[in-house]
Amino acid sequence: MAIELGGGRMMNKRTAKLIAIGVIVAGTLVAESRKEYHFTVGPKSGVSVMNPYGSISVRPSLNNTVTVNAILHSDKVEVDNNQSGNRVDIQSHLLPGADAESGRVDYEVLVPADCSITLHSTTGPLRAEKLHGDVTLEGSGATVDVRDISDAHVHVKTMNGPVNLNNVQNGHVEVDSLSGEVTLNRVTGPLVQVVSTSGRINYIGDFGNSGEYRLTSHSGDIEATIPEWTSADVSARSVRGEVHDDIPLQPKTHTWFAMDKGRAFAGTMGRVAASSTVVLRTFSGKIHLRKRSDK
């Protein structure tokens, strides 16, 4: 079927549709813009990115340069950038009329591996990987993904955004999430603490050689999946929920809380001389200490 263009010219309807789609896509691309910034920093630098809407991803760079690539989804947002000594601040500045769509900026940031980063985004996602500087990520609904971090402080706060930490070694880890699900896979360090109100907490790992691990929730379930050879001093308690223990523990003779059957257990496993302290607490959730099956 053909469409008359005028002047006696005819166009195939399918062709007309393709042209129309092309114009729309081109229009979108025109509204979107890219910005790139480069900053030279010294050792132990700091970078913060404040971005109400959109993703922020941080990876290590190969030199002492901070590189920021920003994709702005409309002209209703602009990127403010500032360097003060060894500190770089990036902020998405929303203009009047901006909303979650038009105010969106997606960032890809490369930083020196020893750089400390602070990321804020309401929507996220937030990602950080392969760094050994401090990592602070906050976002009410943002999905947080942190991996391959070592020898650093990791602080995460979300309201309902899920949190995933993978391979965080020798870290000082603190996660607060009101209702987001928190998953820690191979996370070890002198302190690992997760507090959740109603989110589920999953720990998969071996609790390291020594350290203090505290997983607390109000109504969320807590599940720890650990190998049989783990060395840990474990105590678990649920005020109104149930506790289950798949791994035999040397029971403690004295505890300062009542050992109500089915609501609490406490004991040691593995080598006491080199073991971590593990505290699992929930008010009404379930606690399950599972044995990992190594296949």
Partner: protein
């Protein structure tokens, strides 16, 4: 020297050792009783342990008394406290009540092991989460969220309810087991979760 003059003179010479003071005290049983009471309080103060800190209810009572004296004022009905607070303090406005909330929670956490569990359970009653926690009013918070992001009000409301449930349940465990350090720590965690929620609401930045 009369009674009024004696009371004024106690500000300078607390132990009423001056001759005129002693002479008045011999003839005035009321002033004599007052001086004896003051001396008893002074000597007992030395024996107070550092751990005998006032409970949060004391701070609330102080606030009520200050309001009655007109030294602090409740928010006016035609202005939302959150907005006026923000107008005065800017974006840092929430930090003050948040800090106060955390201090109160820390005070609860550090409360001494003084009372026996049975006695404490008998004297305390199950307390609902107060509408105002250290100046943080839930209704004002939800109003602020509704004004800034009406589409997300349900989400924030749901999370606020969860946080309040946490505080309520944690408080009940502390009430039942006041010597349980873990219970106090859970209560502190609960307050921190709520403080985090308020902080996140403040951090949203629509133009």
């Amino acid at each position: 020297m009369n009674c009024v003059e004696l009371e004024k003179s106690l500000a300078e010479i607390e132990d009423a050792s001056r001759a005129e003071q002693r002479a008045h005290l011999k003839t005035c049983p009321a002033c004599s009783a007052l001086v004896a009471e003051l001396n008893r309080i002074a000597s007992a103060a030395w024996q107070l342990q550092a751990a005998d800190e006032p409970s949060p209810r004391v701070w609330n009572s102080i606030e009520i008394a200050l309001r009655q004296e007109g030294l602090i004022h409740p928010p006016r009905a035609d202005r939302r406290p959150v907005s006026s607070f923000n107008a005065r303090w800017g974006r840092a406005g929430w930090l003050v009540p948040l800090a106060a909330a955390l201090l109160i929670a820390i005070g609860i956490y550090l409360r001494p092991h003084s009372a026996a569990p049975g006695q404490q359970a008998q004297s305390d009653v199950r307390k609902p989460v107060p509408e105002i926690v250290a100046g943080l009013n839930d209704d004002d918070f939800l109003q602020e969220v509704a004004d800034s992001a009406p589409g997300m009000r349900v989400q924030w409301e749901d999370n606020l309810r969860r946080a309040n449930d946490y505080i309520r349940d944690a408080q009940s465990v502390v009430d039942e087991n006041p010597n349980d350090a873990e219970a106090r720590r859970s209560l502190l965690d609960a307050y921190q979760q709520k403080a985090m929620l308020f902080e996140m609401a403040m951090d949203r930045s629509l133009p």
